[in-house]
């Protein structure tokens, strides 16, 4: 129990109702935790939060806090009302990188909890929206201690500031039948190639990787990462016709017509009279819908790989942007495949570092300089899969047409030659 208990009539309202209450958790730390430091800190925090609820304003400001050797990874918070709530006046968050796929043993979680009780507030989030474990609330001093302790047993800080950020990947291949990629491998290859860029913010602005194993994109990578890697396949979808029949037996033909074939965005999946399904794989855009509805019967093909989309982000400063397809398909099987992926990421980051304005994301940079200049900068050839529609406006100097056309014919000839 802390010395002073702030009244929290508004926050108390959040203890009602069936959903687990974070306020009740705070109060447990305040009232029941054996460490007085924690009682005091969280008690004070509750006071400040109640003050925010009453005045409808936040009272934190930033500052500069980092750990020895690094430039980022901490979100420093100093209270603007520290006089009234002194025990929580320093309340920094450490952003710690999770394991790819967000797996933990309970032992490890307990160990992390131990360290955090030692050095922090006892409040933690799995995970922040970027994917970090957020250890919320400690002092400048303890930041270093806590980091030192967990760093020794395998944990490292994530990104904050203008740097490569912590990445995320979906559960994917570990459990999900839709997975077309080794999401964990991709995430670790990418982000661990850039540890230096994670820890020492020196880019124009943040840069995020996200990995989803299939176009369902359970990681929101397409709009929430600068560099989205999404699994897909190139050959034919697999159809288990006996499972199709079983599905029809259970659900009826009409269900398949209403929920599968008529929902296909390219109208390329058909229910035949004999209760089999046919897919025109040439027209299928790998949207996943039919596979989602009939996961037993329909599965991705064998020739798996990934697509890469660049430039997704949220609102600041030109409005939300979706990523843009720049690599329609890339195999990821051999070590060389992964190396070339990492190389490409490195080219993108280098180009970004050199060409983006301060506080400009990749998507904004591409918007400003045009996709073609970006592609040329990173050495990627144009492809019609990059557009949903070719040029609409005739306002362009096309004097180089013949050479560009020649390039295409040559590429096609090379491809044909194998």
């Amino acid at each position: 129990m802390p010395k002073k208990i702030h009244d929290t009539p508004m926050l108390d309202e959040l203890e009602n109702g069936p959903w687990p209450s974070f306020i009740s958790g705070f109060k447990r730390l305040r009232d029941e935790h054996p460490d007085e430091r924690i009682n005091e800190t969280v008690g004070s925090l509750l006071g400040q939060l109640e003050h925010s609820y009453e005045t409808r304003k936040g009272y934190w400001k930033g500052g500069t806090v980092s750990v020895f050797g690094y430039g980022g990874g901490i979100i420093p918070r100093f209270s603007e009302v520290g006089d009234a709530f002194p025990e929580s006046k320093e309340f920094h968050t450490l952003r710690v990188q999770p394991p790819a796929g967000n797996y933990y043993t309970t032992d490890m979680l307990n160990q992390l909890a131990d360290s955090w009780e030692k050095w922090g507030s006892g409040l933690v989030t799995f995970h922040g929206q970027t994917g970090n474990i957020m250890f919320i609330g400690t002092t400048t001093d303890n930041t270093q201690h806590f980091f030192d302790e967990i760093n020794e047993y395998g944990w490292d800080l994530g990104g904050a500031g203008p740097c490569v950020r912590t990445a995320m990947c979906c559960v994917g291949a570990a459990r999900c039948e839709q997975s077309c990629a080794n999401e964990h491998g991709i995430q670790r290859h990418l982000v661990n190639e850039f540890v230096d860029d994670v820890h020492r913010p020196a880019l124009p602005y943040k840069f995020k990787f996200k990995v989803s194993g299939c176009p369902n994109d359970c990681q929101n990578s397409i709009e929430r990462s600068d560099f989205a890697v999404i699994g897909t396949w190139r050959d034919e979808m697999k159809i288990d016709q006996s499972e199709v029949k079983a599905f029809i037996k259970a659900k009826g033909r009409q269900y398949v017509l209403d929920n599968v074939t008529s929902r296909c965005p390219t109208n390329c999946i058909n229910l035949n009279d004999d209760d089999t399904l046919t897919v025109d794989n040439h027209e299928c855009v790998r949207c996943m819908h039919c596979l989602n509805v009939m996961p037993k019967a329909l599965s991705p093909g064998d020739d798996k790989g990934v697509s890469i989309l660049i430039g997704g982000k949220r609102t600041l400063k030109i409005g939300d942007l979706m990523g843009t397809m720049i690599v329609p398909f890339k195999k990821l099987e051999t070590e060389e495949d992964y190396e070339s992926l990492v190389e490409m990421a490195s080219d993108v980051i280098d180009f970004f570092a050199e060409n983006a304005l301060e506080h400009e994301r990749t998507g904004e940079m591409i918007e400003r300089i045009g996709l073609v200049n970006f592609l040329e900068g990173i050495g990627i050839e144009v492809d019609p899969n990059m557009v949903s529609q070719p040029r609409q406006c005739s306002y362009v100097n096309m004097s180089g047409w013949d050479e560009e056309a020649e390039k295409w014919f040559q590429r096609k000839a090379e491809q044909a030659a194998g």
Binding site: V372, Q392, V396, E404
Partner: protein
């Protein structure tokens, strides 16, 4: 004319069409029930009253000499009750209430050298603009391009074998007085204007032309001690917009003014919402008198469309279904960096999804 001879105009505006409409159409105005396509070039409309109107449609050279016009009116007088109309594509239509008059009209038109067809799912007459014949800014001659192409597409005009209507348009400068089209053949300049500095002072209103440039590439400048203009060639998008207000901005160039081909423009609301046409081929030589290169590409596109599209799919619908990558594959046209738009709102044309066809 001397002032005293001047008469004030009668500002009658747009004449009432009713005085010229066939009486059966006037009678059944707004009371039509359905139509049919008995054969290429012929429509049969049936009114709720049971009355019928048979329309025979024929292609002409659009720029009619009075001899040709009188041939057309003579046919109308003799076989078609004296009523005609012209379509938005400058085809002439004869409307009669009696089926028996149809064949004589067709025969007379054919004999007089006009081409019956252009209805339903045919390749319609190419709509075009003035060109070298009359305009002050053209990069090519629209009538010549169209005559050359229609010579080669005539079988598609006189039959109805396309998946749906095909509307082709052409324009003779980048202003594009012609429409968008299922296929559009338009001028594309590929060099910034050369400035005839000696003429600028006399001819051009400098502030106007500076304001007219869509990318602010034109600056006033002193050249040889005289006020003239200067173009930032890096910025210039070769649009030619500066030429009409300032003819010394010489944009037309016998070698570097090329043709470009666009597809999928569709103003009808049928099925999908109206769509803008999209670039597919450029760098096409502006090659009078017969422009064979442009025609070859148009035919390539039509062939792929005819083979690949389902009934009722316009070119935009077909491509929407098969995807643009496949379009370039089946037409054999190259995809280049110029196909990626970089104009305002270009982002909307990028593929912001994993939807890909393999």
């Amino acid at each position: 004319m001397a002032l005293e001879d001047m008469r004030p105009p009668i500002e009658s505006g747009c004449p009432d069409g009713f005085q010229y409409i066939h009486p059966v159409m006037r009678k059944n105005y707004g009371q039509w029930k359905f139509h049919e396509h008995p054969r290429p070039g012929v429509l049969r409309h049936v009114a709720h009253s049971g009355d019928e109107i048979w329309t025979v449609k024929a292609g002409t050279q659009r720029i009619l000499d009075v001899f040709s016009l009188r041939k057309l009116t003579a046919i109308g007088d003799k076989y078609a009750d004296g009523y005609v109309r012209f379509t938005i594509r400058s085809n002439i239509e004869y409307m009669v209430s009696d089926e028996s008059k149809v064949q004589p009209i067709i025969d007379a038109l054919t004999e007089a050298g006009f081409i019956v067809g252009g209805t339903a799912n045919s390749v319609a007459m190419i709509s075009h603009t003035q060109g070298w014949l009359h305009c002050d800014i053209p990069g090519t001659d629209a009538s010549g391009v169209v005559k050359s192409m229609m010579d080669e597409l005539i079988d598609e005009f006189t039959s109805c074998n396309m998946p749906n209507r095909v509307h082709i348009t052409t324009s003779c400068c980048q202003i594009n007085c012609g429409g968008q089209g299922d296929i559009a053949i338009n001028v594309q300049h590929t060099k910034p204007p050369r400035i005839a500095h000696d003429l600028v002072g006399n001819v051009c209103e400098r502030p106007t032309v500076v304001a007219r440039c869509p990318v602010a590439a034109i600056r006033p400048a002193m050249v040889n001690g005289k006020p003239s203009l200067e173009v930032d060639e890096k910025k210039c998008i070769c649009c030619g917009a500066c030429f009409p207000p300032c003819p010394p901005m010489q944009i037309n160039d016998p070698e570097n003014s090329k043709l470009a081909i666009w597809v999928g423009g569709n103003h009808s609301n049928a099925r999908s919402k109206p769509t803008f046409q999209r670039l597919v081929a450029a760098g096409v030589p502006n090659n009078p008198p017969r422009w064979p290169e442009a025609t070859a590409i148009v035919k390539q596109i039509l062939k792929a469309y005819k083979e690949g599209a389902k009934d009722w799919e316009r070119i935009n619908d077909w491509i929407e279904r098969i995807g643009w990558p496949r379009f370039f594959e089946v037409t054999g046209l190259p995809f280049t960096k110029y196909h990626i738009d970089n104009w305002r709102g270009a982002r909307n044309s990028l593929n912001a999804s994993t939807h890909i066809r393999f």
